[in-house]
Symmetry: C4
Subunit: 272 residues, 4 copies
């Protein structure tokens, strides 16, 4: 095993008994958790004022580690994405950089190197939270995570369609509501974009209560929207539900086919 | 191919490589989106005052295009709804005009030609939003859209029944609540119709918080209604869920039967 | 056909072409709807003051009709509940009187004859609303109504269990919340029973916003309760969902078995 | 039957006709319910002041009974957890003490013996409520309770994963929201931990209305979170739904296999 392959083994999920790899995994998990804790703590004004320097040093340290890890992952990409020899080998690197996990890793360090970046640094630091997903791939929840991902992937067209229908309903509801309530409550429903806020809050059944209709027509409309909202909550629920059942049946069928093949092979052998 | 058939091909979903048809499709999609943007923008008072004339001209232009498109669709209806020769050919036109999509298209232009119409023009302009559904039929989400539509169609009796039960529960809850809370909060629960507003907001679990019971009996009742509300949210969810699974099984069975037929045909041929 | 059987046919669901029966069905449907309208209208103070006498007369008339209908239904019970000859015939009457629909019908008229009854007459009049369920049994939604009823019946143990778990969670949440928030908000959380109101409003995700925790511990608890609330909404949804699918599979299997039987009978005949 | 076995039979679920056992079961059920009633009643200040002594005596009595019951259950553990002879017999006791029900029973009495315990006694008394779960195992709802438990157990990985994703989303939403709204509403969104309260209330669609965004960016974010909240409600619903269906199919298959085995045994016998 070359040095490069050994490093690949270490930064990937630890195999049983591979202590250095397990240590590395846990080190990264703890570092990410500390990062999240740092973001939360530094949002308390008094804590931030007192330990500001500590947070800055910790940030330098984290970015350093994550950068080294990122570079190592690029370097060992050929072990992860093995390609047929007819493709040029640099494609492995490209594939890692543009993979979901690769982009995730880059997002966790890039903002630090772009001092002129506009977005708040705290937000980007919290984005490291998403890196936890990578960590989770290491664990025994791996299979559940993959299954949920697969269900969403299989049903993504239907879920997208649902969101599209939701979007149309929101726009329609906001437009009609604006026309109905704007005269009575010009401050709460000043224009269609602002009325969209009411539409979202109602359709998702959150109902903060900061904006609500007061006219009879507005209340009637709001009632219809809320009841349609129940259907809209039911739609993704039904889609995901059937998605899980499909996955279950697919797995069952695969197992059945495998068992049948084993039996067939056995019969052929005995026939010999 | 006659000129009429060519025009039919253009206004229908573009086939691969049919550039004029694809251009037409995108032109209509963009025009609809611009219409929606215009409705939203013109709801801002300051924008509307400044660019009022622009919005009027754009409205003239849009209605002109949509009218031409509507007339072309009527003209090419015989290609869409091919009938057996024994029926008079004008039935194709009638069928398009009274189809779901035909009515949708008419709704998007009719109000313009009815200056004495009462409803707010802005609402009717936003109705063009619904035309997006036609646009969506052009895309690769076509199948998901059809599937969702089919599930709702298959389960429509059960969903209707659910809404009927919801309706009865709303009326019952509002009546009892009115009798209980009217004495203490005559302003919030002035009559049964007004109390229906509370019932809808509670049963759909929106809960704005503008009206809520204050008496012990009222709170008890409200609690029961909310818990029954969970069941009511579960009912359409279960119906739609089973609807999707049925569709999936139907598709699977159809595929199995087709495969079986192919095998049978093969055996018959070999038998020969 | 005896006169009694003819009357039974009339008050039951109309068969195709049986005009008197259809007229009777529609007369009852309209009368029930008018009753509901009367209850709603008489809840408006000004309407009630002006047309009070009209409402009273209409009440007399409705109760008269419903009483006659109820007595006719008792009289024709033997046609509805045909019993084996070994049972005494009066059991048919008993069975109707204690059937779900029989009790429903009695509830719609009984309060009128009990002038000393405590409950508000308006509430009991609105109970006639529930009679609509009988009406619905007449229609083509009959099957959907029965299917939903059957699913609830099959899954009633699980649904009951869900409500029991919900009840325990509500009590637990209210008790802990009372201990946590009572010190800070003695008016909003005065005792455990009052805190139950908060628990129900939170667990069902209604969230009126009249009572909510302000302490950190209370908010933490409330967050946990809300997230568990999602699971509780998911539980009946899953139960009902699987209930519908079971019903669908049962129907499919029954159809398959029937088809198989037909084939077997055919083979046996041909074998002869 | 030894005395110990007889006592085991009594404290376990009563068999038909075993009156002493049934009496014991009902005695415990009623004692638990009275305990809950006592907790609720003693939360009313005026009731607590007047009957304080009564509540204390009842507490002594309840703890005495529950302690005796707990000791008896330990004593009879070898009948519940029968072990193969090669294991030392004291393992039965250990197994009971660390079983779910054993810990539950201990929790119901332990706090009484720890006078220096910090937590409010009322909370711990209400914990006896959870003992109702044991009671429920006695009843005919036993099967539903077990089924729901099994579904949660089978799907626990997926449900845990869902909660993990919810957790990440909550942290992300709170962090971004804090950065957006903190400037405008420093009192409502003082730090990320406090903003988590808003995130939970929104994502679970409770929406009390005590904290809500006022900036355009904040409202946009809140809208996205609410719509994602619908998906998150759909996820456990879909998981549990498929869990129930799997259980149903497993049961069906088991029945089928058993029937097949019966037939095979019959054929073998006839073959003989």
């Amino acid at each position: 095993m070359t040095k490069r392959e050994r490093i690949y083994k270490i930064i990937e999920k630890a195999e049983d008994g591979d202590t250095p790899s397990a240590v590395f995994d846990w080190f990264i998990i703890i570092l990410i958790c500390l990062n999240i804790a740092a973001v939360i703590c530094s949002s308390f004004d008094n804590v931030n004022n007192r330990y500001n320097r500590l947070f800055v040093y910790f940030e330098y340290f984290s970015v350093l580690i994550f950068t080294i890890e990122y570079l190592l992952r690029i370097w060992t990409a050929p072990y992860k994405f093995t390609l047929s020899p007819k493709w040029p080998s640099f494609l492995s690197y490209v594939r890692f950089i543009f993979s979901f996990m690769g982009i995730l890793d880059l997002c966790a360090i890039l903002p630090f190197y772009l001092p002129f970046v506009i977005i708040d640094l705290r937000i980007l630091r919290i984005l490291r939270l998403v890196r936890l997903l990578r960590v989770f791939k290491l664990t025994r929840y791996n299979k559940s995570f993959d299954l949920i991902g697969r269900v969403f992937k299989n049903e993504k067209d239907k879920l997208f369609m649902t969101f599209f229908i939701v979007g149309i309903m929101l726009l329609l509801a906001a437009s009609v509501m604006y026309a109905v309530e704007n005269v009575v409550q010009p401050d709460e429903f000043p224009n269609i974009l602002a009325t969209l806020w009411w539409a979202v809050v109602t359709l998702t059944t959150v109902g903060y209560g900061d904006v609500y209709p007061v006219t009879v027509l507005g209340k009637l409309l709001s009632g219809i929207i809320s009841i349609l909202g129940i259907i809209l909550i039911a739609l993704p629920s039904g889609i995901i539900s059937s998605g899980f059942i499909k996955e279950y049946e697919r797995k069952k069928e695969k197992r059945k086919r495998r068992r049948k093949n084993v039996r067939l092979v056995g019969e052929i052998k005995r026939g010999k």
